[in-house]
Symmetry: C2
Subunit: 258 residues, 2 copies
């Protein structure tokens, strides 16, 4: 049997915030031309099901048990798959360069002989998550900037930038902050006041999207409404009032094409 | 002649950062089902050319002269077109909720009898612009957050948040800041030092993409390399070093599918 020689190649691809139709046309073309797709837990199953059957699909979100695949394991799998099969598409939820550890995967691949590397951006849930709840991250007169942070690195004490974010006028978008919401709200209350609106959006852009809108001062009493163990996007700032307005008016229909 | 009654309807749609293939699948479907498309100067002509010929296309980026169409004129055109033809797709460069005045268009449309309103996000150049130059807005060990601001509202004096951004550790992404680069660099030098890297990316994701990487302390002497009157994305922070590294190694190929 003659094996066709394949040049190892990596495409780092963002799948978008949830809705399978929010992948880009360019990303969809890459999936169709892939030899192997390595995909994360946050990628919608319907998108995976659409990929041609001749493309190998490997789930690297979690191992068969309950533990996450380590970044080292994923890096190694990318390199092995590229040398064995050719074109690896590494498919990640959201955008690969927003807390995605995408650059680590690129550097590892490059250090292990993969020269053809491409990045195809995805819609980041940091912006589209709020949008799906009717919340624009910027809006004239309400907010002229937005600051996207993660809370996962916080261990008891807050990172210095979290306090600076609380002091700023920026719309603050927190990813991976669900378990810290109460402490974050307490910090922000000191600088922005208890009546500052806060939104929590889960399953953004999907049929089971759920938005909780409250104030910094009473969010603690509303946490029973959210799944604190699932991913969610937290938005703090005056722009949240816009979402409140539109949510109550039921004007926005984000699933019109479904 | 019998006219079919059409329900006025508005879809606010982000076209992405430049490359016509960086529109989402959902956005492309909306364009095909539109009765009228109102599009901006930042939307790629190739994307407009792809829209079926039966769809009316109206350019609202600039008037026939050299003046910009006012926001009021665009708002009115959206409403008139929706009542006359049915489904208006308002196609904007990037994402409609990132400095896009999208919410103003929604509120005007709603106040004028348009009840069916949908928002379809686009890839924001705030994230994808840096990515196209090999710069991840976040990267473990280099930056745990990014702050997106505009400099157009600055009139001589800087907005308070610009100084806070300079004081923070965040990757700072500036949109619409090309003409203010020198003043911005001078402000950031005070807090982050003259050796802090800065990148200017123009025509991101297109064949004529151009990246200028310098330091805050010497960017002034490099400004002859950029078109200061054209749109551009400015990135300040340690993550820019990653782009410098990759740009020199020519590892990233962002136009593989072209």
């Amino acid at each position: 049997m003659v094996m066709r020689h394949k040049t190892p190649r990596l495409t780092l691809l963002g799948a978008g915030p949830g809705d399978p139709d929010l992948i880009t046309r360019k990303g969809w073309k890459a999936l169709q031309m892939a030899d192997v797709v390595l995909y994360d837990a946050l990628v919608h199953p319907d998108l995976i099901a659409e990929i041609p059957t001749c493309v190998r699909k490997i789930y690297v979100g979690k191992r068969s048990g309950s533990h996450c695949a380590t970044q080292t394991e994923i890096n190694q799998l990318i390199v092995e798959a590229a040398h064995q099969y050719g074109h690896v598409v590494r498919l990640k939820g959201g955008d690969p360069f927003v807390f995605g550890r995408g650059m680590e995967e690129i550097e590892f691949a490059r250090a292990h002989g993969i020269q053809q590397i491409e990045v195809i951006p995805g819609i980041s849930s940091a912006i589209a998550g709020p949008a799906a709840a009717g919340i624009p991250v910027t809006s004239r007169g309400l907010s002229n900037s937005f600051w996207v942070l993660t809370a996962t690195t916080l261990d008891g004490a807050f990172a210095a930038d979290m306090e600076k974010a609380a002091q700023s006028d920026a719309t603050v978008v927190l990813l991976m902050g669900m378990r810290k919401i109460q402490a974050i709200a307490e910090l922000f209350v000191q600088f922005r006041g208890a009546e500052t609106p806060i939104a929590i959006i889960q399953n953004a852009t999907l049929d089971n999207q759920r938005t909780t809108i409250a104030q910094l001062g009473n969010i603690a009493s509303r946490l029973h409404e959210v799944d604190i163990h699932a991913p969610g996007i937290v938005v703090i700032g005056e722009v949240v009032r816009v979402g409140e307005h539109f949510a109550s008016a039921s004007v926005l229909n984000h699933n019109l094409s479904h």
